[in-house]
Symmetry: C2
Subunit: 475 residues, 2 copies
């Protein structure tokens, strides 16, 4: 399917053809506007103004109303003819052939009118047939153009429905898809003006920009398949895991207190009630120390829980803490720290375990699977592929496929820059603070120097001030 049909080019051609084959001086094409019950002149040879006339009025109006051909050999002797157009234009109408335009269902969708057969003759039955056939062709072309428009509207509708779905899923990233689309399309449009470098004069056609916009709007669609707790995880332990850890330390504190009182009672048995004050003194001191040691462990765990880069020593201490136990309320010895907690708290960077990172990364696979279900037109067929590669890195360390630079579409390389920029500067994510514009650019520059983002594209992104251009303002 070719992308765009230009009725403004096609219909004058049909009308030119019509006046040639029926040997008319002038032809006009009127389109029927059913809602207003009017005809309007889409193409009118010899006139630049749009003419609107009610269905039923004038020759063309009657043809539109009845669907019957009108062939007038002498206009001025026919009462249906309205001279006012001639009077205002100075034209002299002699013969008129006016036929309905019918679509494939036989419905009248407009009218073609031919004026003044050359050579002073009248239009004949052959002319009627020719003009009817050309009318059907024009009707087909118009319907065609409307269908193409409808297909475009469908894609627009599907894409915005999908954006509604993503944002219903994760309202905290509302607007992200739209901003990434604006940034990426703006960057793509800027490449055209480049005079040097690998991207000099790279030009994206209107439909390629549309493809890029759809891919950008839908790049995160797969997040509908990722658990929200993982999507917004702010620390290494989930909030309820930290709450449980805190409760366990409470039990352990109670346990230390209970042990202390049991020891006091046992000491009284041995040393007698006279020593009570002394025992209490010793035990109070010991208990305070035990509690302090336990609280320090908990404070250390709180530090580990934050998403910073831990020194190696930290992990070693976590592993040591594996040995700690407490006695529960049924006299069973229990580990103070669960293996899963130690694993989570040992995450060296960020807040996600390997499994969780994989789950987040799977959103790209979900996106690809979803987009591949859609029968994109030929012109838009790369939407799934472009979205699929938006987390790939030039040095092959990206995900989900870790593909090498040369197989990453340039559109995805641009989207990667926009996506990171917006994720950094967005202020609406509960699990992290917004980074200011200049710091975001620094981070992007670092990734480009590290060989992960495309340096040339990033230079354009920064020098052409794409964020300011596309988003209006920057932080």
């Amino acid at each position: 399917m070719s992308a765009e049909r230009d009725l403004d080019l096609l219909l004058p051609l049909i009308i030119y053809e019509a006046s040639k084959v029926v040997e008319a001086d002038r032809c006009s094409l009127f389109i029927l506007d059913r809602e207003r019950n009017e005809l309007w002149s889409k193409v009118a040879q010899g006139s630049k103004n749009e003419i609107r006339l009610p269905v039923g009025s004038g020759i063309a109006g009657q043809v539109a109303a009845t669907g019957a051909v009108i062939n007038i050999p002498d206009a001025y002797s026919d009462e249906r003819f309205n001279r006012s157009f001639d009077i205002s234009s100075g034209y002299r109408t002699q013969t008129i052939l006016c036929v309905p335009m019918r679509d494939a269902n036989g419905e009248v969708t407009g009218v073609i009118q031919a004026l003044n057969k050359r050579g002073g003759r009248s239009f004949d039955a052959e002319d009627e047939e020719l003009l009817l056939a050309l009318g059907a062709q024009a009707a087909g072309a118009i319907e065609n153009a409307l269908l193409h428009e409808e297909i475009n509207r469908l894609f627009e509708g599907f894409v915005s429905a999908s954006v509604v779905a993503i944002e219903a899923r994760d309202p905290s990233t509302a607007g992200h898809s739209g901003r990434v689309a604006d940034l990426t399309v703006s960057l793509a449009q800027t490449l055209e003006h480049l005079e040097n470098g690998s991207y000099a004069n790279t030009r994206f056609s209107a439909v390629e920009l549309q493809e890029l916009r759809y891919a950008s709007l839908l790049h995160d669609f797969g997040k509908v398949g990722v658990r929200e707790a993982v999507l917004v995880k702010a620390e290494k332990l989930y909030p309820h895991e930290l709450e449980m850890l805190r409760a366990r330390f409470q039990i352990a504190r109670k346990d230390l207190q209970l042990q202390s009182y049991r020891r006091r009672l046992a000491a009284v048995k041995v040393r007698g009630d006279k020593a009570l004050a002394e025992i209490d003194g010793e035990e109070d001191e010991r208990l305070a120390e035990d509690l302090k040691r336990l609280d320090e462990v908990f404070d250390f765990l709180l530090t580990c829980n934050r998403p910073t880069v831990l020194a190696q020593g930290g992990f070693e201490r976590l592993t040591e803490l594996r040995k700690l136990t407490y006695t529960d309320s049924r006299e069973q010895s229990q580990p103070l720290l669960l293996d899963g907690e130690i694993r989570s708290l040992s995450i060296p960077r960020g807040t996600l375990s390997t499994e969780e990172r994989k789950e987040i990364e799977s959103h790209v696979e979900h996106t690809y699977r979803f987009l591949s279900q859609i029968p994109w037109t030929r012109a838009l067929r790369r939407v799934p592929e472009i979205a699929y590669a938006h987390h790939e890195k030039l040095d092959g360390t990206g995900y989900p496929r870790a593909i090498p630079e040369k197989t990453i579409p340039v559109q995805s390389k641009m989207m990667a820059i926009s996506d990171i920029y917006d994720a950094l500067t967005a202020s609406d994510r509960p699990y992290k603070k917004a980074v200011p514009h200049t710091l975001a650019l620094d981070i992007l520059n670092k990734e480009a120097k590290g060989g992960q983002l495309d340096r040339e594209l990033l230079t354009v992104f920064i020098e052409a001030e794409i964020p300011r251009k596309a988003l209006g303002s920057v932080k």
Copy 2:
């Protein structure tokens, strides 16, 4: 947009018209198959067999290859003419007019061939023009039909992409959308055969069934906007809430133990170390009783947590338990039960609080919002509306709008039956067991008797064995 175009009706009409206007004995229309580089006879007057010929071969093949008109006044004296068709058919070709069919872009998409101008004359320039115009009309009609097909494919693709998204969101209900669609469409098709009752002879057209299928496939789409913890909540407290409650009771047990040992020590101060055995005996007994009482409270809470209908007394006891406290490890008095827990455990039916029920119910609003974004064709325009009403009840107690019976589309009434049936019998939901077929029908019958589901539709559903018919087997 009208729904379906039947090229099999339209093209013979164009060909009939063509042979009339150019006064030919026979006309044929060949479509260009670019992939195989062949022409095939879509319409051939005087022949019932499909003819396939390579582009470039024969008169039609040459027109397809060059795009130029061929007008032959005497076939048997023209070397391009291949007599074999005449020989096999017994027809005698004299004059031939063969013109390309061009689409709106001017691309050749086929060929029209007229044979034997009536009256023994040759085809003239007028005939060429007429046939070219009709060819363009046919090309337009074909392209139109392809665009309609493409629009259908787009809808199919988008619907299946959306189903992929729902199931990525909630794999445990995988297949639900498809089963509800099969059940509902099967029920709709059965109504046609009814002879009595309100639905006698109710007939859904092909496109109405398509509309119903889309609405059914997408009815739960809005669940992408509901938190998964709520979607699969199996008990009144979430698992981590129950875990926290259990931990708090552990602290309270430890607290009872600690209090007991403190009392023992205090008693020794008063009664002296000689009374130690006696004190231990008294305290052991008291502690055991205290712990037993506490454990009973916890067991009672576990009972409350299950999704059964509680007697009123249960709630009263929960309210009394509000008074219970324990002392935490920092000597602060804390409530044993949080207000939120009491509220959750007091849920009289099912497992969801009012807010959670509202959140679940909001999926219908999400579905409607999502579906309303899609520019459905006129024929499919009720998809959002049908899906919107699938949880409405005939007695006005449904959600989200609680609309009265007369405003619920019959399609939604059918979908309500299928949806409940499948939700009951599905074995893939982690938070509840599958109900056998016959019990599911009992439950549906009870709802129908209660005035919530349509009795007549349910009778058809059961008597026509829709589940067996649509799903192949029942449990």
